[in-house]
Structure formats: C-alpha cells, structure tokens
Amino acid sequence: MYNDLDPLLHSQLRLAIMSILVSADEADFVFIREKTGATAGNLSVQLEKLKEAGYLEIRKSFKGNYPCTTCKITPPGIKAFEQYVTTLQDYIKPGQS
C-alpha cells in the first residue's frame, strides 16, 4: 500500500527528524533528541542515513567549550518531504480512510 512513499522518510524517527528540520532553520542534536525521545545512538544512525541521502547537512562546532552538532535540511530534503506529504494526502483523500 505504501509503495509510493519514500522508504527513507516512512520511518517514525526519520520522519520526526525531517518534520522538525522542515520547520526550523537549524536545530541542535540535543533539541532533536529531546523532541523525538530517541536515544543518542539511534538518532546518530538515522541522521547519518538522511545525510547520506543528501536530505540534510550536519555541522560540528563548539559552543563555548562544548562540542555541538547542528542539523539543517537541504533543498533536496525539503523536496522529498513535500513529495512525501503529497503522497500521504493522496492516501487520505475522502472516501479512502
């Protein structure tokens, strides 16, 4: 049934990550972890997959003395997300639910 949905986005954690990043200009790793409730290890793995697909950029820097990882969605990431939502809307058209 979900063949048309981007398999990379049709996973709870990856979709949650993309939803946060589509509404924010950029977000810290800690913020995404807090909002999704995921473990740091799992989140790192999923972020890496999205990065490999070119859906987001990951920047590592320092805030004061502490390392910080900032994530930002890329234009292909926005396009993929929009396509995912459009496909989703097609499934939920009146009479189909």
């Binding site: 979900y2 949650a16 589509v22």
Partner: protein, 222 residues
C-alpha cells in the same frame, strides 16, 4: 527504529514535531530588550533632567551622554553568545527577526552617523547662512528622535506580530503615536526637552516592560 506506521499516524507525527519546533521561544531575548531599554531610558531621562536644570549655554552638552550607548555593544555581544549557547533550535521566524533587527540597527547607525558627519565636516564650512536662516544649523537634529521612534515602532511591531507577543505590538504602536505627536508639536519652544521625555516613555513602554514580560514568559517555558 524501522517500524512502519499508518498514514494517519504519519500525519500526526509531522504535525506534532512541526509545532514542537515552532512554539519555541528564544531564551535570552528578554535580556537584550532590557539592556537597550534601560540604556535608552536612563540616558534620555538624564538628558531631560540636565536640560531642565543646566544653564542655556551648556544644556545642549548633555546630548554627549548618548555616547554612553556604546557600552551596550560589548554587553549585547555577550548576551547574544549566551543566547546561542542556550538555544538549541533556530526557526525561520528567529532568522527573519534577526534580519529585521539588523536592518533596524543599520538604519539607526546610518541616521546617527550621517548627523555626526554633517556636524563635524559639513556644518563648520556652512558659514554663509542668510540672516534669519540660522536655524538650519540645528534644525536637522530635531528630526533624529522622531525618525528613531518610527524605526522603534516598525521593529517592535514586526517582532510582536512574529512572536505573537502583544506587549511588543503595543510598544510599537506607542512609538508610532509618539512619532506623530513629536511631528505635530514640532513648533513647540521646548521641543528638544519634550523629545527626551517622550523617548524615555517609549523606551519603557517598548523595551523595558516587554523585556520583563518576555523574561517571565521565558522562565515559565523551562
């Protein structure tokens, strides 16, 4: 976590995550409003009082107190650095608001720098003023406060609407009313004194009060 889920759950997740990032109020914003609000309020009130009590020959020297605004620069930088460390997300609204306040600062600096350059370089060479037109020497300075207040109104109104924070919108509207008031009473013999008093009221209404309320709201969001 590779679990698949229904289209309904999918949409719910998207909505929940988007609103969680959207309703994030930037921590530390209130402190920046308080810094500039108190600086302008204290300086304008001090100048107003000095102009009331100083003799005519020296009362305009009290305008030199505006140079104290420079101490706001390093303090602002420190607050921004602290804010960046505290805030884990930057929304598009935050980004646009950054640009609005940068544009506001550039506008202010442009007006003030233009006036200072005019006073230092152009005015001394401006000797052959026709009799009865001596007012041209000081006249442009009377425009600085209304222009600044109009810019305050613009930036405060946009910020208030963007963050859906009414005290900032009210502050902005008060600044616009004050601008109109100062222009309408342009001919008043005590205009310069009145301008400082109006500036004090606007700094309190537009920055100090919203700044304290923002701080309260930020703390309640923790």
């Amino acid at each position: 976590m590779e679990t698949h889920f229904s289209e309904k759950e999918s949409l719910e997740l998207i909505t929940r995550m988007i609103s969680s990032a959207k309703n994030n109020l930037q921590k530390g914003m209130g402190s920046i409003f308080l810094l500039w609000g108190y600086l302008v309020a204290v300086i304008s009130l001090a100048i107003f009082l000095l102009m009331l009590f100083l003799p005519h020959e020296t009362k305009y020297h009290s305008y030199m107190l505006w140079s104290l605004m420079a101490i706001g620069g390093p303090l602002h930088y420190r607050l921004v650095k602290k804010m960046e460390a505290q805030n884990l997300v930057k929304t598009y609204i935050d980004k646009i608001m950054d640009y609005v306040w940068i544009a506001f600062s550039v506008s202010m600096v442009t007006v003030i720098a233009g006036m200072i350059i005019q006073a230092i370089l152009v005015l001394p060479a401006f000797t052959d003023v026709e009799p009865g037109h001596e007012f041209l020497r000081w006249f442009p300075w009377t425009f600085v406060t209304p222009v600044m207040l109009c810019l305050y109104g613009f930036a405060l109104f946009v910020s208030g609407k963007a963050y859906q924070f009414k005290p900032l919108v009210t502050g902005g509207v008060i600044c616009w009313i004050a601008t109109a008031f100062l222009i309408i009473f342009f001919h008043h013999p005590h205009l310069l004194k009145i301008q400082q008093l109006v500036l004090f009221i606007c700094a309190v209404a537009g920055f100090v009060i919203p700044g304290h309320l923002l701080r309260k709201k930020e703390n309640s969001h923790v």
